[in-house]
């Protein structure tokens, strides 16, 4: 292309510039499709949906997205190495109940109980990672099985009950008002920044994508694949229990049925919308945030437009489906 520019023909230069713009926009379309989907949906809602374009509503969307973003980031890490974690939703339930149990029933200090809860999540993730990496069971099965086990454990611990009326100092962890937003939003923001750093600015993050694309090549180039895969699952588990704690604080109720299988699948869908791939090697922190925001906005639109509650899920899924179809058709045309 540089050869073309050297020609002193005005027409040629114009053509070259044009093609550069075209190439740039093409690259943008190809790699930032999630931004386009997000903007289309957001602008559509701003213009056509009643009561959407208020500051209050948009702040509300941020509040609602901040917590699921954390699981979505953990899931993105796991998807990047070509794995999958189906136990996420059940870990959310376990984390939710266990943190309440530590504080209310055992009377532990709040900080300590949150740390214990995170450690339990880390432990569950470590078990997942060990079974996947050391015993070489496919991740789908491992996490399906541990999901059953974790759900059973949470049910046994709770004995089918829920904890209401959490103490004030515990609620303060997620509800303290800082600059007009609850602290759970700031926790979400910190996690996003940490994951951005982890995925895009560290050797660990680069190794994730490398392992997702080709495990053997990564191994041969000196990456400690076992350690990275196990720690990825551990991080995902820890993030899930963190979400459990924050969700419990948000609704002031600790119950093992929080999260569940639905949460897992919505998280995976958000990660895919954000550009992660089930076959591994792809994923960005930025994309995960956008994916969750896209789903929350769709939910918000469906809520605001007063659609029948029963058809809520169907409409939500149909919109998500059309977003994914759009993304795939676009990629097909661009190739």
């Amino acid at each position: 292309m540089s050869g073309d520019i050297e020609m002193n023909n005005e027409m040629e230069i114009k053509k070259v510039n044009f093609s550069a713009i075209k190439e740039y926009s093409r690259d943008f379309l190809k790699y930032q499709g999630n931004v386009i989907i997000f903007l289309i949906i957001w602008l559509f809602a701003m213009i056509f949906v009643k009561n959407f374009a208020t500051v209050e509503n948009n702040v509300n969307i941020i509040k609602q997205s901040a917590i699921p973003v954390i699981t979505c980031l953990g899931m993105t890490l796991v998807l990047m190495i070509g794995g999958i974690d189906l136990s996420v939703g059940y870990l959310v339930g376990l984390g939710s109940y266990i943190s309440g149990m530590f504080v209310v029933m055992m009377g532990l200090p709040v900080a300590l109980s949150v740390i214990f809860t995170l450690l339990i999540g880390l432990l569950c993730g470590l078990v997942n990672g060990t079974l996947v990496q050391i015993v070489k069971i496919p991740p789908f099965i491992v996490t399906l099985g541990t999901g059953y086990i974790i759900y059973g454990l949470a049910q046994i611990l709770s004995n089918g009950t829920a904890l209401n009326g959490l103490p004030k100092e515990f609620l303060a962890v997620g509800r303290t008002n800082i600059l007009g937003l609850p602290s759970s939003v700031w926790i979400g923001l910190i996690v996003v920044l940490a994951f951005y750093f982890l995925i895009h600015r560290t050797v660990f993050g680069r190794s994730l994508a490398s392992i997702g694309l080709n495990v053997n090549a990564s191994f041969l180039s000196g990456i400690n694949d076992k350690l990275i895969i196990v720690s990825t699952y551990a991080i995902c588990g820890m993030m899930s229990t963190l979400v459990g704690v924050l969700m419990a604080l948000r609704v002031n109720n600790c119950t093992p049925i929080m999260g569940g299988g639905d949460h897992t699948f919505v998280t995976i869908t958000a990660a895919i919308l954000g550009g992660a791939s089930l076959s591994g090697g792809k994923g960005t922190a930025w994309g995960a945030v956008l994916g969750v925001f896209t789903i929350t906005i769709i939910e918000n639109i469906v809520n605001l437009s007063g659609i029948n509650y029963y058809i809520f899920k169907a409409v939500l899924s149909a919109v998500i489906l059309s977003a994914i179809v759009f993304e795939n058709l676009k990629n097909k045309i661009l190739q």
């Binding site: 079974l131 015993v135 070489k136 069971i137 496919p138 789908f140 099965i141 491992v142 399906l144 099985g145 541990t146 999901g147 059953y148 086990i149 759900y151 059973g152 454990l153 049910q155 046994i156 004995n159 089918g160 053997n216 191994f219 041969l220 299988g261 699948f265 995976i268 869908t269 895919i272 791939s277 089930l278 029948n308 509650y309 029963y310 058809i311 809520f312 899920k313 169907a314 409409v315 939500l316 899924s317 149909a318 998500i320 489906l321 994914i324 179809v325 795939n328 058709l329 097909k332």
Partner: protein
């Protein structure tokens, strides 16, 4: 070859022996009535597992199970209550399952959406439609003939069990004796190879997901006839259970491996396990832990034994 056959026979004998040994320790477990009851209760999961196995063998994944289990019987029930002939209503319900399967197949093969996402979203839409059709509540008062499908029996064998066995036989014949079945196995092994052979991959995928939709719809109709009512969220538990049953039955999630009848045996095994735990008076909360552990252990054993075979071919 003989060594392998011997090994297989030994495994089967070992399983049967273990079943009888453990079963005899549990009071009232090894009675004709209880065992036949297990087959009746697990007929639905077994039928779902047959459909799931077809899709898993083709290298895909079907998460639309809960939606189809709710929607297909809902359609049949509404048509029946509107006065349509029972058999036509059931046929239309089954057809709806096939159509949902084909929709998933089109999304997966023509638009290249990952099977995991496409089938999940399609299932969610189906269960949403089921909720709207049932107005969020269950529909009862179905005709007596419909109820007899799930609750009647011929020569002391429940009709549900007979239907399940017929499905397993039909599925096995389709996958092992017919050309399309061989193609599905080959597709699970290597999609590219099948493509270069000149086989129409898209048709193959439509067929696999339609078969799964058909089996799942039948399971839903059987379930609603056993309960004599259709509930719009009746399928919620069946998704993970049918994947687990197929996996316990030795179907590989990576595709190309496994047999239909072993998937059904996996479902029966899970049903027997749950039944035995209940008989022993173990709280249902603990049952999930058992089921989860069994899934992991069964697959770990098969993976470890396979790794031993592949040790000699190891590069790294």
């Amino acid at each position: 070859v003989q060594k392998k056959l011997l090994k297989k026979i030994l495994i089967v004998l070992f399983c049967i022996g273990g079943f009888i040994l453990i079963g005899s320790l549990i009071p009232n477990f090894l009675t004709y009535n209880n065992l036949i009851n297990i087959t009746r209760q697990s007929a639905m999961i077994a039928m779902c597992a047959v459909g799931m196995a077809v899709v898993l063998i083709s290298g895909g994944m079907d998460l639309s199970t809960p939606g189809i289990i709710a929607l297909s019987p809902m359609i049949s029930a509404i048509l029946m209550l509107a006065g349509l002939n029972m058999y036509i209503a059931i046929a239309i319900g089954l057809l709806s399952g096939i159509i949902i399967g084909i929709v998933s197949g089109v999304l997966i093969s023509n638009i290249n959406i990952p099977a995991f996402i496409a089938t999940y979203v399609v299932g969610q839409i189906a269960s949403g439609i089921a909720l709207v059709l049932g107005k969020g509540a269950s529909i009862g008062g179905l005709p007596r003939g419909y109820m007899m499908i799930g609750n009647g029996s011929i020569f002391d064998i429940p009709i549900s069990t007979i239907i399940m066995i017929l499905y397993v036989i039909a599925g096995s014949i389709m996958m092992e004796k017919m050309r399309i079945g061989k193609h599905i196995y080959a597709h699970g092994g290597s999609e590219l190879t099948v493509k270069f052979e000149g086989i129409n991959i898209n048709k193959l995928k439509y067929f696999a997901y339609a078969a799964s939709g058909f089996c799942t719809a039948s399971a839903g109709i059987l379930l609603s006839s056993q309960m004599n009512a259709v509930h719009p969220t009746q399928g919620a538990d069946y998704l993970l259970d049918s994947v687990a049953a197929a996996t316990i039955g030795g179907v590989s999630l990576l595709g190309g491996e496994g047999k239909i009848w072993t998937a059904a045996v996996g479902a029966l095994f899970m049903g027997a396990l749950r039944n035995a735990l209940t008989m022993l008076g173990i709280h249902p909360f603990f049952q999930n832990i058992f089921v989860g552990t069994v899934i992991i252990v069964v697959v770990a054993v098969s993976v470890l034994s396979k790794n031993k075979d592949m040790e000699s071919a190891k590069v790294f």
